[in-house]
């Protein structure tokens, strides 16, 4: 169906080909997964199928790509539109019209299908993807998972024989990802659609693949094989494979179910091993840097106060007016430690919708908290409230003793730092060096402190690199360094692993662990259950703006089937979370 014959692609002004010696064939009706570390040219290979590479992107393609017998050399993308449906990484960039139904019809209109055919297919697709209730909705009002389904639906209606997807689930919560994958599975099984898909989160997709095309490193020729064959030597692999390799299972299991059947002996070996203590390392008080203005406030205050000013010394004296609330407080306020984050009965409204409802959360120094929950549950809003981007409608937020939305940004960066979902938003300058200089100035830190952090997090980045030329993981590290320049005791990360491969993720885990050990409190909003299991001491699950679970990681994720990491599922009822834990225990 799709045939690559010794293809190499060189972009203009690039010294080396983005991919070379790509030579494989995807037979009709197969679901083929394209895997590999970041930057090996997965998107280039996908683009070559739809003809966007090189017709749209520019560059030189050597060799030949044929799709359903049509050579992409002689057919422009628009002339392949009836056989290839393409969905890119960002569904929002894909939409041409503004309502669900029009979007589904758009491709068919371009192809000139008869109105009654279009009508029938739109109805069928609405049912197939479970979108019937949303048919009249403006696309902008849909959740991430719904948007992704609309994007897939919009390329399905012209009945393409090939579907090309670039990271269809990486922005989705576990349940929405299952939804999308179930739809793909159905297309392949019921309708014989050929699917070629790239995805970083292998733990979600590898069990659905018929075959895997592995691009091991930039410029290397791809390896093709069944998932079990390729996973045996692939540099990227999901936790289930990691556990399989560790335990030496053969054949290598790819699904939790297969792994469970092989895991009896491993469970026995692990039965008498103690679980690792998954608690924050105690932090010496001196290690916690607190801003000078706040350190003079020994008492935790229960009422919102005006922004702290360096001259106010009221907190040093006992408050003359004792509020009734303080009288009823059972535990005395902790002595001198200042809470990096304290959220009390916080409610936030956004355009008539209650985004958060009476959320209470306290984060102590050195603790890592993972915020989880489906798309739109209020995770980003909570992070926004902690950095003062969102004003509370009720309740209070304290960050290192300050009220974030009333604190001047310059003071606030020394108490809390947020790495947003799109790290690029934080970067303005043309070069890494300029970015670091600006960060030092913003944070009032000594010259070179940001650059030192960058060198630590990102060895080998030269000063004159443009932030845009960095890979996703490198950009995240640069944004992290910029935020850390002010040494905030509280670090927030919104969806940090989106678009990161396993190696970049492992580096991030190392960096964040070291920061937590130094006494930074870390809160991360994430859909990545494996990351949460690896990193978090505590998991807080939000649903519809309310906290529905809050407890130690092991307890919360073990109790929830959709938030449990693969290792937990395999070794249940034992409570192991990650491959690392198992490896340590077996030692």
């Amino acid at each position: 169906m799709i045939r690559f014959e010794d293809v190499s692609v060189t972009y203009d002004e690039a010294p080396e080909p983005a991919v070379q010696h790509v030579d494989f064939e995807v037979p009709e009706g197969e679901l083929v997964l394209l895997v590999g570390p970041s930057g090996v040219g997965k998107s280039t290979v996908l683009g070559a199928v739809s003809g966007l590479v090189p017709h749209f992107t520019g560059g030189t393609l050597r060799g030949r790509v044929t799709v359903a017998g049509r050579d992409t050399r002689t057919h422009k993308p628009r002339e392949l539109a009836d056989v290839v449906g393409t969905v890119g990484q960002d569904p929002l960039a894909h939409f041409v019209t503004d309502t669900v139904e029009d979007e589904l019809a758009y491709g068919m209109e371009s192809l000139g299908l008869a109105p009654d055919v279009m009508r029938r297919r739109v109805e069928e697709t609405l049912d197939l993807l479970g979108l019937a209730e949303l048919r009249d909705r403006p696309i902008a009002t849909l959740s991430g998972g719904q948007q992704q389904r609309v994007a897939i639906g919009s390329v399905l209606t012209p009945h393409p024989r090939v579907l090309v997807l670039d990271e269809p689930t990486s922005a989705l919560d576990p349940a929405a990802a299952e939804e999308v994958l179930a739809v793909l599975q159905r297309l392949v099984h019921d309708l014989g659609t050929t699917v070629l898909m790239a995805e970083h989160r292998l733990e979600r997709v590898v069990q659905y693949a018929d075959r895997i095309v592995l691009l091991p490193s930039p410029g290397a020729a791809p390896a093709v094989g069944t998932p079990a064959e390729v996973m045996a030597y692939s540099p990227v692999y999901p936790p289930v494979v990691a556990l399989g390799r560790l335990a030496g299972w053969s054949p290598l299991p790819l699904t939790v179910r297969d792994a469970r059947r092989a895991a009896g002996e491993l469970r026995e070996r692990l039965a008498d091993r103690p679980y690792p203590a998954h608690t924050p390392t105690p932090v010496p008080a001196a290690a916690v840097e607190t801003p000078p203005a706040a350190s003079r406030r020994p008492f935790r205050r229960t009422r919102p106060s005006p922004p702290p000013t360096p001259t106010s010394d009221t907190a040093l004296e006992p408050t003359p007016t004792t509020t009734p609330r303080r009288l009823f407080r059972k535990t005395p306020p902790p002595p001198t430690t200042l809470c990096p984050a304290e959220v009390d009965a916080l409610s936030v409204r956004r355009a008539r919708v209650e985004a958060l409802r009476r959320v209470t959360l306290t984060v102590s120094p050195g603790e890592t908290v993972a915020l989880m929950g489906r798309n739109g549950a209020g995770k980003s809003t909570l992070l926004g409230a902690l950095v003062g981007l969102v004003e509370p409608a009720a309740g209070s937020v304290r960050v290192g003793g300050a009220v974030p939305h009333r604190t001047a940004p310059r003071d606030l960066v020394r108490r809390v730092g947020l790495v947003p979902q799109e790290p690029r938003d934080l970067l303005y300058a043309d070069t890494v060096a300029a970015e670091c200089a600006a960060a030092d100035a913003d944070a009032g830190a000594g010259a070179g402190s940001c650059r030192a952090l960058v060198s630590e997090l990102l060895p080998g980045i030269t000063d004159d690199t443009h932030p845009r030329d960095l890979s996703e993981g490198q950009r995240l590290a640069l944004a992290l360094a910029v935020v850390l320049t002010a040494r905030p005791p509280l670090l927030l990360l919104d969806e940090p692993t989106r678009g990161l491969d396993y190696a970049a993720k492992a580096r991030l885990v190392g960096v964040l662990r070291a920061l937590a050990a130094e006494g930074h409190a870390i809160v991360l909003a994430t859909h990545d259950v494996e990351l949460a299991a690896e990193l978090a001491h505590r998991v807080v699950i939000l649903a519809d703006g309310e906290v529905v679970a809050d407890g130690p990681t092991a307890e919360v994720v073990v109790a929830s089937p959709s938030f449990a990491p693969q290792v937990t599922k395999i070794l249940a009822p034992q409570r192991w979370l990650t491959v690392t834990q198992v490896r340590e225990a077996l030692r």
Partner: protein, 417 residues
């Protein structure tokens, strides 16, 4: 729900074969179980009808300065918007238009106070210190007497403009602008898409600016002020450009711009007709506007227009596109559009008739209190017709009654491979 949904999961085979559903009594001749058969998007009137209606009201607003009538017009437009507005993002523009109208009114009043008014008035409200201006600025006055008459005149005038703006806002709120562009002829379609994309560009740009200004706060820089806005300018434009390129790629991959093969003769005729037609329109307009060309102006203009339209029609044959559920101009659309046209027509009639003119333009000098003229007021009330004939939008949060609330989420079928 459709009767055959239950059978969907065990549909024997595929996408390419005729649909079992289509065979099961869904042939084209039998009525389909849709709510609005053959209609455009359910529960909508043709967007053109809303525009005709609102422009009719707007035209009516330009014919009068009577504040009571203008208030009535604004009320009529507001009532219809309140009953028929959906929850869609474009429907929220109505309040923006209302605010714009108010701003226009206020600016008009401020100008009348500061710059004086040409209306000769006798009742002086207050006297502002007058700015002495050089001789060459004769006729311009800054400060000076502020008369009640001048203010009232400015108020009437501003109110008329505000009413016009609010009518346009009503059209924006009631009809999706993108749907109106869908009704363009085939040859203009690609321009229409460009306009739609441009229309979505602005809201996206605003969202980007807000996001990046928020990000400035994260860097510890002030997130307000002009400097903050300027510094995010470049990243915002970069982002907008990137998004446009991504959208262009998506459109290209989805078949945008596919053309049909047309004979060379047709292509040449199209080009000749379009070019000739446009030239004719230009020449005709020139003729009409100059004193000498009174005789040939109109015929040339009409001929040019006909040729250009012919070129458009022929050009449409190159486009393969078909329309999905095009909006139909039905009885309701006629009623909605008709009510607007009737309101405009009746007020124009009233304004030219000798008796009505005084009532439509209440005197300012001498100042008299405006009265509500009976017949024009009744005519304006005809504009309420759409509130009763147009179907009201479904209330978004709760599903329409009578529809069983079946779970529509696909069942997660996971099969180990």
């Amino acid at each position: 729900m459709h009767p055959s949904v239950a059978g969907m999961t065990e549909r024997p085979a595929g996408w390419a074969v005729p649909w079992p559903r289509a065979r099961g009594g869904w042939s084209r001749s039998s009525p389909r179980p849709y709510r609005f058969r053959g209609a455009g998007a359910p529960s909508t009137v043709h967007p053109g009808a809303w525009w005709v209606w609102s422009l009719g009201l707007g035209t009516a607003a330009t014919r009068t300065t009577n504040p009571l009538l203008l208030g009535l017009l604004i009320g009529v437009a507001g009532y219809v918007v309140a009953t028929h507005r959906t929850d869609a993002p474009w429907a929220r523009s109505y309040s923006a238009f209302v605010k714009l109208g108010l701003a226009v009114l206020v600016i008009r009043l401020v100008f009348a106070v500061v710059l004086g008014s040409p209306i000769p008035g006798s009742r002086v409200l207050l006297t502002l210190p007058e700015l002495p201006l050089p001789d060459w600025a004769q006729g311009v006055r800054v400060g000076g007497r502020v008369t009640v008459e001048g203010l009232v005149f400015a108020l009437y005038d501003g109110l008329r403009l505000a009413a016009l703006l609010i009518c346009v806002g009503a059209a924006n709120a009631l009809a999706n602008p993108a749907r109106l562009l869908k009704s363009l002829p085939g040859a203009l379609y690609e321009i229409g898409v460009a306009v739609v994309v441009a229309l979505t560009f602005a809201p996206n740009l605003i969202a980007d600016v807000q996001r990046l200004r928020a990000a400035r706060r994260l860097r510890g820089r002030p997130d307000r002020g002009v400097r903050g806005l300027l510094q995010v300018g470049l990243p915002v434009l970069e982002g907008a450009l990137e998004r446009s390129v991504a959208l262009a790629a998506a459109m290209e991959a989805r078949g945008y711009g596919r053309t049909a093969e047309v004979p060379a003769a047709v292509r040449r005729t199209t080009a000749a007709l379009t070019l000739g037609g446009l030239l004719g329109v230009c020449a005709g307009t020139y003729g009409l506007l100059t004193a000498a060309g009174g005789t040939y102006g109109l015929p040339v203009l009409l001929a040019g227009l006909a040729a250009a339209l012919g070129g458009l029609w022929l050009g449409g044959r190159r486009s393969l596109r078909t329309r999905y559920r095009p909006d139909v101009w039905g009885v309701r659309a006629w009623l909605v559009a008709g009510s607007g046209v009737v309101v405009a027509g009746l007020l124009i009639l009233a304004s030219v008739s000798s008796g009505g003119s005084a009532a439509l333009h209440p005197g300012v000098v001498p100042l008299v209190s405006p009265t509500l003229p009976l017949w024009p007021a009744a005519a304006v009330l005809l504009g309420l017709l759409p509130a009763f004939v147009a179907p009201s939008p479904p209330s978004p949060p709760s599903p329409p009654a009578g529809k069983p609330s079946e779970p529509v989420e696909p069942v997660a079928v996971k099969e180990p491979s």
